[in-house]
Homo-oligomer: 423 residues x 2
């Protein structure tokens, strides 16, 4: 939709980089770790209410939600809030902005240059836990809404902003939102994409493999079976599966990655006694799955690879390892690159930055899997910062990205939702 | 020394299998886990005192002892008791009986048929934690002493019984005994040998290898380095070292074993996040060393094998794994098979059982490493039960073995220490 250039100009000009930095700093200063997001959600709902939009806040019935077919979570969550702000009318397409408030633990505090929950601006970046993943995107969207409201832009359709919990451990917050019936004609999730426009994301399924051994005193270890040695064949099979699956990828959106659907087993533990042969080993990780892939079939492929490795081993063939799917089960998802929301975000970003942003698939799982597959909402991920800076010490986001995202969202809001009376 | 056959007969006849079972059951019922052995030591000293022998009990200054060159331990031990009972005179060779009261943790209680600290007689065996390792041997020795005292046998030399702590985690109890100046002309340690006469034992050195990786989000794991994958080459090198060392063994005492000096790495842990590339891994185990082997050289051989594996790896060559020697450092030890104490135990056991017992080296480390190398005491290990039944659920010891050991020890006491006036 063509928008009066003066409105566009006013909106773009009203975006205030320093205001986003201030909002983001406030958000970082309230630690909203997975499972403990209530203070963070209260803060976001208060910031939204202060802009003058309508804000709905509700207690999520986590216990009831946990019976949903699409539910997954890794942390205990006794309480959870839903927050949804809306602005605009019902006479045009509805745009949903989705951001999560939960952050992953900061790890070892001494690995940080400055404390994780004390936001600092340094080298043109805001530093702190969640700066990149994804309070930066949330602050940018919040500010975009703030600008539209402050200018009293008469949107024909509705822009809403959902602040959700539980993205990092499986997406229960967005599930609760969809379960409540919230839908839209397009959705932007402000996860870090380094300003690429992302209509497709991988899925990520958390797994746990248990390998058994047979205990024996270390001095007579030939009478036992080392679960650590038995594990090697299982590991080899899993890595070979990763190679095979990634070699077969034929999706231009993922061409920019060597290994878009990685299998990463990042945690291992086995044995109770250094001087006894280990009689157990647990290996845990994530299994990248492609958009469009059937999850049941994908899980079966993984289980078969483990089973085939076991069948080749004298011990494991009679003591097969088990595969368990636990914790976060992130659905992959894809929106057609031709969908209106994708074009809207691309053209807005092009106008804001002066160059067409890359169109890419992302190798991580996020709430797009839920909004597209369960919600049926065409969704694009677009946000500030690089995912490489997430989930690590000294997490940070470039301030320049924050302003680009706020402007792109505000402009997308104007164009996607339109102005009342076609103004 | 020839002993009056009536005395011998009286001693052998006085050994009461049921009394040993009762003593052993009492000992099992007092859990004396490594680091928490005080109640167990009090119990043993009371049982000894009740026989009428002289008992010395003293507080071990653990802090002072911890500076001793030969000290090693794995558990915190704020208090520790030494217990030494003596019987006999100073006119003949002195025999020291050495038994440890500490037991390893029972593991998962549900893995036990009956509770670990509730002794039960079943199938001709006493069951419970410590039955085999080594309260069975301790009870048999205690009863042997009890019989000598009850019969008022006039020994020319002294038989003493040391009940020690800390054997399982490095031998600090026997170290305290030797540090106190206790010596003898011969020593029997009643560890489980399945009634073999054992003049040599392997050493066992506890090690910890740390492997570093480089963390990365699991979805972009090619930007990190998996400490788990880096570990494989280190593991291969260690197992190859084990093969090479054992292939070179040329000691008839250890012929009965395929792999007398095993390297067993029984505990592993790595990575904090299943969906991030693991940036650390710790592998812990024990390194079997041969009697007579220089420990410094042996450690160097192990460290070199790890270093050589690292040198072959692009990542590890610049981020080398570290090797740490921690916890129990069990010295190997050997007494000449021709030593008086070896002959005395062999001939006594032959008389008791009617057949010559096998002469063997044992693949486990025990306090013989301290009594021989540091104490200079010719030592033999001889005890009831099979080490395969130790350190596991449903630990047990054959009752028949208990009586054989009590009789063999009593008879060895008569012959090794002699009778006053050559009676």
């Amino acid at each position: 939709m063509d928008i009066d250039p003066t409105v566009t100009r006013a909106v773009l000009d009203a975006v205030d980089e320093q205001r986003i930095v201030a909002l983001l700093s406030d958000l970082i200063a309230v630690p909203s770790l997975s499972g403990d997001e209530t203070a963070g959600q209260q803060q976001v709902s208060e910031l939204l209410a202060a802009t003058g939009v309508d804000v709905t806040r509700w207690e999520i019935d986590v216990d009831a939600l946990s019976h949903h077919d699409w539910y997954s979570a890794e942390v205990d969550r006794s309480a959870a809030l839903g927050v949804l702000a809306t602005y605009g009318a019902d006479d045009g397409p509805a745009l949903l902005l989705n951001g999560h408030v939960d952050v992953v633990p900061p790890g070892t505090p001494s690995d940080w240059t400055t404390p994780p929950f004390e936001p600092v601006v340094r080298d043109g970046r805001v530093h702190g836990r969640g700066a990149c993943d994804m309070k930066g995107g949330l602050a940018a969207a919040l500010h975009a809404l703030e600008v539209l409201v402050a200018l009293d832009v008469p949107l024909a359709g509705q822009v809403s902003l959902a602040s959700v919990v539980g993205e990092e451990d499986g997406g229960c917050g967005t599930l609760a939102l969809l379960d409540r019936g919230v839908r839209a004609d397009g959705c932007i999730i402000m996860e870090p994409t380094a300003l690429a426009v992302v209509p497709a994301v991988a899925g990520a399924l958390s797994w746990r493999i248990r390998v058994r051994g047979l205990s024996a005193h270390g001095c007579l270890r030939e009478e036992g079976v080392s679960a650590i040695e038995a594990f090697f064949g299982v590991h080899r099979a899993v890595i070979e599966l990763e190679r095979r699956r990634n070699a077969a990828v034929d999706d231009p959106l993922f061409d920019w990655l060597d290994r878009p659907f990685a299998i990463c087993g990042g945690r291992i533990a086995g044995g109770d006694w250094p001087s006894s042969e280990a009689d157990w080993l647990v290996w845990e990780g994530r299994y990248g799955v492609a958009p469009g892939e059937d999850l049941h079939a994908a899980r079966g492929m993984f289980e078969s690879a483990v089973a085939a490795a076991a069948a080749d081993d004298p011990w494991l063939s009679t003591h097969p390892p088990t595969v368990e799917w636990w914790g976060g089960q992130f659905y992959p998802g894809r929106t057609s690159p031709d969908a209106d929301i994708v074009s809207a975000v691309r053209s807005a970003a092009t106008q804001v930055t002066g160059a067409a942003p890359p169109l890419r698939g992302m190798p991580y799982g996020c709430d797009l899997g839920l909004t597209t597959n369960l919600g049926g909402i065409p969704t694009v991920v677009f946000g500030p910062g690089d995912v490489r800076d997430a989930h690590r010490p000294d997490e940070s986001v470039p301030i320049a990205d924050l302003a680009v995202v706020a402007r792109t969202i505000a402009l997308t809001g104007l164009r996607f939702c339109g102005l009342a009376g076609g103004a």
